[in-house]
């Protein structure tokens, strides 16, 4: 399951989704509000109900969305769902702060260091290729 939120999130997940092995993975793309009242446990409860096996989240360059998406990752893992996030390295500090504050500094995430503003739409598949490999590595090792 890929969870799209804001900013460049859609482009990132389009690229990652298209690189996943089609035969083995059933992908569902979900967009939902990240701004406003945040109910991460409710969200994760839905994932459990839907018997989701893995979650990949990204929020592009939206920092609030990234922090909130990371909390969802942690809760998903706590509920037995393999989870990871794709995060621009520019949001490294808020990522570390969030993971530490919620007790999971060890949560594995996939980062990329190209500033999103520097990427054209057609650049995403190439830039996201190693990210996809990293995502798969993280999810299959959990």
């Amino acid at each position: 399951m890929l969870n799209v939120t804001a900013g460049w999130g859609k482009l990132i997940l389009d690229s990652v989704g298209s690189a996943l092995p089609e035969d083995d993975v059933l992908i569902e793309r979900i967009s939902r509000p990240q701004i406003g009242d945040h109910r991460p446990q409710e969200w994760v409860d839905h994932l459990v109900e839907d018997r989701v096996s893995a979650v990949v989240v990204t929020a592009g360059d939206c920092a609030t969305c990234t922090s909130r998406a990371l909390r969802e990752c942690i809760l998903a893992e706590d509920s037995g769902i393999a989870a990871t996030a794709i995060i621009p390295i520019a949001l490294n500090e808020i990522t570390n702060a969030t993971l530490t504050a919620w007790g999971r500094p060890d949560l594995q995430i996939a980062t990329f260091d190209t500033p999103l503003f520097a990427l054209k739409k057609e650049d995403f598949p190439e830039v996201m290729k190693p990210i996809t490999e990293r995502v798969l590595q993280i999810l299959t090792s959990q």
Binding site: Q34, I35, S67
Partner: protein
Amino acid sequence: MIDSPDFCPPEWTDGLPGVAPTRARVNMMLGSYSARREEAVAALPPSMGLATIENVAANSVIAGCSPSDFPAVLAAVRAVAQPRFLLDQVVTTVHGLWPMVFLSGKDPAWARDGDSLSGSYGTNARIARALSLVLRNIAGGSPHSFDASTMGRPGKLTFGVAENLTMSPWKPWHVRAGLDPESSVVATYAADSTLCIADMGHNDPQLLASTIADCIAIPGTYNSFFRKDFWLLMSPTHAWVFADDGWSVSDIAQAIADRAKQAYGKLRTRGLFGFIDQHQAPSWLRPEPIDSVEISVVDSPQRLQIAVVGGPTGGYTTAVFGSGITTIERIESDQAT
């Protein structure tokens, strides 16, 4: 920064010097709160750090507060901790949001006259700075932690303002908000930039309402997308242009809300509207309006928070843009006893 035991380590401050919170100074700040020093004030998102009476006092010392400022600082911390303030969003956003601290009531120490937005008289600025430091040091609101603001803004250092009651033609803001006239309150609002709106010489309330409305109906603001609260800090001169003609605060809010409009077709091609997909749109965009519909950037007149601020000369209104709901806490002057 000067290396002196009177200053605290730079990582505890906002970049400006802070007073070292020695045990003696914190005790002085606590005063009659001493027995309750370990009492929890609130767990503050996003880090969920626990604000206690004692660590809020320590941050008040760093900010240079006097003990008489301390009850207002505690009230400000409680106000931003209310869930509907969405503190985690305010602290983590790439936007420059940060609380504005608005003081309404009778405290004689608050600065209410000319230059009051600048902090020249100290009190308001100290209270707001203490709140900022609490957010940095307890809630994780520093750029080395949860604060991912792209640019920040000057008001993140301190943005405290008190209502000018003596020159206002209206009841105090907190009384209009439904609170006891004898109480004093802190209101907090997730603010971004301010815009100084000048209108002088007309002395016509209709023209003045239109000037203010035209100035706030700007695509590209958070207000035009989320349509939450909007603060208008009105100089006494502007307030009396309306009041002399018999306008109430409700009349003013209605007139401005009615006029602060843009065609939806223009709004949706600008600013945060680029973020919309079907699942991300605020509720007012469901169903999506047609392009020709005129949309007010003010969701309803009740969203406009209007208060008189500043000195007697000059016809200005400062619009405080931002995103979110205003939260209020009473300053309990007797809470230490």
